[in-house]
C-alpha cells in the first residue's frame, strides 16, 4: 500500500523533547482512555506503578540504544549484555562480600567494556554495526554462561535487591530510568557530543568535512549504550534476585522497537530521548492492557508485533515529507 504524504511539515523533527511526536502522545492517551473505560483498575495507583516498573529496564536499554541509532548504527548485543552484567554483579553481591557499590559499578563497567569493544570493532575494523554487535551478542552470552557455569547465580545480598524496590511508593528502577533519560536528553541537547551524534547520523561525510572526529563520536555512542546495558543488567538481577545467564533474550529488539516507534530513524540523524520514552511507555501500556484484558500471552505477542509495524508505518506516513521535495 503506498504511503502517500504530500503534506509537508514546515519543520522537521528536531532535538526538542517530544517535538513532532504528537501522534504517539495521542495514541498513548487514546489507548489509556480505552483501557480506563474497559478496566477501571487500569488507572489504579498499583497498576500504574506496575506499568512503570515493567518498562524501566526496556527504557534504560532504549535510551542507550537511541544514541547508537542516531549515528545510523545498531546494537544487537544488549540482551546478552544484560545477562552478562547481571551475572557479574550477582557474583560480587553475596551478603557481606563487598560494599553495595562494587557489584553495581562492576556491572556497569562490564557493560561499558563490551560497548567499547563494539565501538572499536565498528570504528577501527570497519565491521558493520549489525555484524559487530551480533558477534558480541553471541560472545557475551557465552561469557555469561561460562562465568555462571550455566546456572543462576543466587544468594544475593538484600542491599542489592533493594535496587528493585520502592522509595516513597515509586519503584526505584523507574527513578533510575528517569535519571538516565534526563541525563542523556540533556547530553543530546547541550553537549557538543550530542550535536555530533546527530551530525554523524545525518550525513557522515559532511560531519567529517566539518572537522568532526566521526569515529570517536560513534565509539562514544557504543560505549554509552554498553554502560547503560550494564546498568539495566544490574537492575534486572536485583529484581529477580539472581544473576541469570539466560536472561534478557531479545531485549535488544524490544528496545530498538521502542526507539523507532518513538520516531528515531533507523538511518540516523533524527530522533531523541523524548520520543524513545513515549515509545517505551506505549509498548508498556499495550502489554499491561492486554494483561488486564486477559489476552493469552501467545496472542499478546501477535498483537505487539502488529502494533510495532503499525506505529512505525503511521509515523512514516506523517514524516516522509522532507523526502519528497526534490531532496
Amino acid at each position: 500500500m503506498p504511503c502517500r504524504s504530500d503534506k509537508h511539515s514546515a519543520r522537521v523533527p528536531k532535538l526538542e523533547l517530544f517535538a513532532g511526536r504528537l501522534g504517539i502522545v495521542v495514541a498513548l492517551l487514546a489507548l489509556a482512555a480505552v483501557l480506563a473505560a474497559l478496566k477501571p483498575n487500569f488507572l489504579s495507583a498499583a497498576n500504574l506503578t506496575n506499568v512503570v516498573r515493567q518498562v524501566s529496564i526496556n527504557g534504560i536499554l532504549a535510551v542507550g540504544v537511541t544514541a547508537v541509532l542516531l549515528t545510523g548504527g545498531v546494537d544487537l548485543s544488549l540482551g546478552a549484555l544484560v545477562a552478562l552484567t547481571g551475572v557479574v554483579a550477582a557474583h560480587l553481591a553475596h551478603p557481606g562480600a563487598y560494599p553495595l557499590l562494587v557489584p553495581i559499578a562492576a556491572g556497569i563497567l562490564a557493560g561499558a567494556a563490551c560497548g567499547a569493544v563494539n565501538g572499536a570493532v565498528v570504528t577501527r575494523c570497519g565491521v558493520p554495526s549489525f555484524i559487530a554487535t551480533l558477534g558480541m551478542m553471541t560472545a557475551a552470552r557465552g561469557l555469561a554462561l561460562v562465568l555462571s557455569d550455566g546456572r543462576p547465580v543466587s544468594n544475593m545480598s538484600p542491599a542489592l535487591t533493594r535496587l528493585a524496590g520502592d522509595v516513597a511508593g515509586i519503584p526505584v528502577p523507574a527513578l533510575i530510568l528517569a535519571a538516565v533519560a534526563a541525563a542523556v536528553a540533556w547530553m543530546l541537547r547541550n553537549l557538543r557530543l550530542g550535536r555530533y551524534l546527530y551530525a554523524v547520523g545525518g550525513n557522515e561525510q559532511a560531519a567529517r568535512a566539518a572537522g568532526i572526529r566521526v569515529q570517536g563520536v560513534k565509539f562514544a555512542a557504543y560505549l554509552l549504550c554498553g554502560a547503560l546495558a550494564g546498568l539495566a543488567g544490574v537492575v534486572l538481577a536485583a529484581r529477580i534476585t539472581t544473576g541469570q545467564p539466560n536472561a534478557g533474550v531479545a531485549y535488544e529488539l524490544d528496545a530498538i522497537a521502542a526507539v523507532v516507534i518513538g520516531g528515531t530513524r533507523l538511518s540516523g540523524g533524527v530522533g531523541g530521548v523524548g520520543g524513545t520514552l513515549l515509545g517505551v511507555l506505549l509498548m508498556g501500556v499495550i502489554g499491561n492492557g492486554l494483561d488486564l484484558l486477559n489476552v493469552p500471552s501467545y496472542y499478546q505477542q501477535i498483537v505487539k508485533g502488529v502494533i510495532i509495524i503499525g506505529a512505525v508505518w503511521f509515523d512514516r506516513c506523517h514524516q516522509a515529507s522532507g523526502k519528497e521535495r526534490g531532496v
Binding site: 509537508h8 559532511a206 567529517r208 526534490g326
Partner: protein, 506 residues
Amino acid sequence: MGEILRNGENRGNVWLEALGVSKSFGGVRALLDVSFELRRGEVHALMGENGAGKSTLVKILAGLHTPDAGEVRVDGRKVELRSPHEAIRHGIAMIHQELMPVPDLTVAENLLLGREPCGRLPGTVDRGALRREAGRLLELLKVDLPVDAPMRTLSVAAMQTVEIARAVGSDAAAVIMDEPTAALSDREVEALFRTIRALQARGTAFIYITHKMDEVFRIADRITVLRDGVRVGTAPASGLDETRLIALMVGRELIGGRVRGRAVAGESLLSVSGLSRTGAYRDVRLELRRGEILGLAGLMGAGRSEVAAALFGLAPAERGEIRVRGRVARIRHPPDAMGLGIGMVTEDRRADGFVPLMSVRHNITLASLERCCRGPVIRHAAEAEAAALAIARTGIRASDDGQAVVQLSGGNQQKVVFARALMSDPEIVILDEPTRGIDVGAKAEVHALVAGLADQGKAVLLISSELAELLALSDRLLVMRQGEVVAELDPLTVSQEEVLKHAMPI
C-alpha cells in the same frame, strides 16, 4: 515579453501537455496554474532559478508527484500519472540527476532491466537475445559501449547514455533530463548532444533542465521559463539571447563581466611544492597570498578537487610539502587544516556539504561549535547569535534558523555551507565549485561573497568548471591538465578559448 513569448503555432504536433497544473507542499506553493507543452521531436529546455518549480513540474510529468489541480494530456487524451511506472507506460521516461543503475549487472542487463527477453522456460532469460537487443539499442544511439561490461566500470557519462538508451528501449516518446551535464566533461557533453540529436531525428522529444546558458542555446529548440512556480513564458531559443533569458529567470537584468578589480596581494599564506598522489596529481606547486583569489582551471578529472582535498586533509597527499604561513604543515584530517586556519567549501554539497535534516543554525555552527561552548557544553544563546550573524553576512534566505537545510533552495544550501566554512574565520579559504547547480541570482550573490573574502584579506583558492566565473573573479589563474599544473595565466587578459587550449589533454 508578449510577442516573443507567445505559445507556438502548429499545435497539431503537441504530444505531451500539462494544463493549469498547481502543486503545493504543505502550504508552500511550488507551482501555480502552469501550462506546458512538448512537441514531437523537439528539445524543450525548462529554465528558472532553483525553487522556480522546474523539478516539481517534470516530476508531475514523470508520475512522481500528483498535481493538486490541472491535468496532464498525452496525445490529446487526459491521463492520470500516479507512479513512474504509469508514466513510462505512456511513453514518458525520466533520467534522474542522480543516476540509478545496478552497478554489478552488465550494460546489457541494465539496458533491459525489467523487460528481459524470455528464454525457453518461463522465468529464464534468453541471454543471447538480451545481448542482441542491447546492441541494437546502443547502435540506434550511435554509441559504442561494451554490452558485457559491468555497469560499475563505466564513466558517469557512459552510465547516462545507458539510461537514455534504456528510456528509448522502453519506447519512450518523451525523455526528461534533469541537469544531465552536471558531472560531464566538455567532450562527454558533446557525445550526449549527438545522442540527443540522433534520437530527436527519430521523433523523440526531450525536456531538458539545466543551469548552463551555453548548452541551452546549443541544444534547445524552445525554452520555457518558470519563476516562483509560475510560467513566465515560452519562446523559440532563436528568439532569445543570454542576457534576455537571465533577465526573464531572475526578473531583473544582471551585469556580466569582471566582478572585481585586481587585488594587491599580500604575503604568502599557503605554499605547496612537489605535491603528488599516484593517479591523481603530480608535482603540484602553487602559492596562495593574502588578499588574492587564485583560480584553478581544468577539465573534470584534471586533479583539481583532489589537490583541494589534500590541502584540507580529506585525502592526504603521498608526497610533497605544504607550508602554511611559512611553516611546514602536516595535514592528515580536516581538524588539522582547520587548526591552521583553512576552511573549505567542498565540491558536492549534497554528499558532504551539509546535514540535510539538521537545522540551518546547527549546520552553520557544526564546524566551529567550540566557539559557542563553555567546555563541552553548548551555550544556546551564543550559538543563536553566531548563526544569526552568519545568516546576515551570507544572505541566507530561510523562514527561520530552525528550518532544515534540505528544504532550502540549492543557492541557499550553498550559502549555509559557506557560512559554516567561514564561521571559524579561516584565513585560507578553499572553494571547490562553489556555484555548481545553483541559479543565476544566487550565483551573483556567491560571487560577491567570494570577492568579499579576498577584500577582507583572506587567501582564496577557487576551483570552478565555469571559465567565465574564474575569469571574472580570479587574480591569477592556474590551469591543471591530467594531474599537473601546466600554465599560469592572467585572467584579466586571457580568453576562455586560450584557457581551454591549455586544459585539453594532448
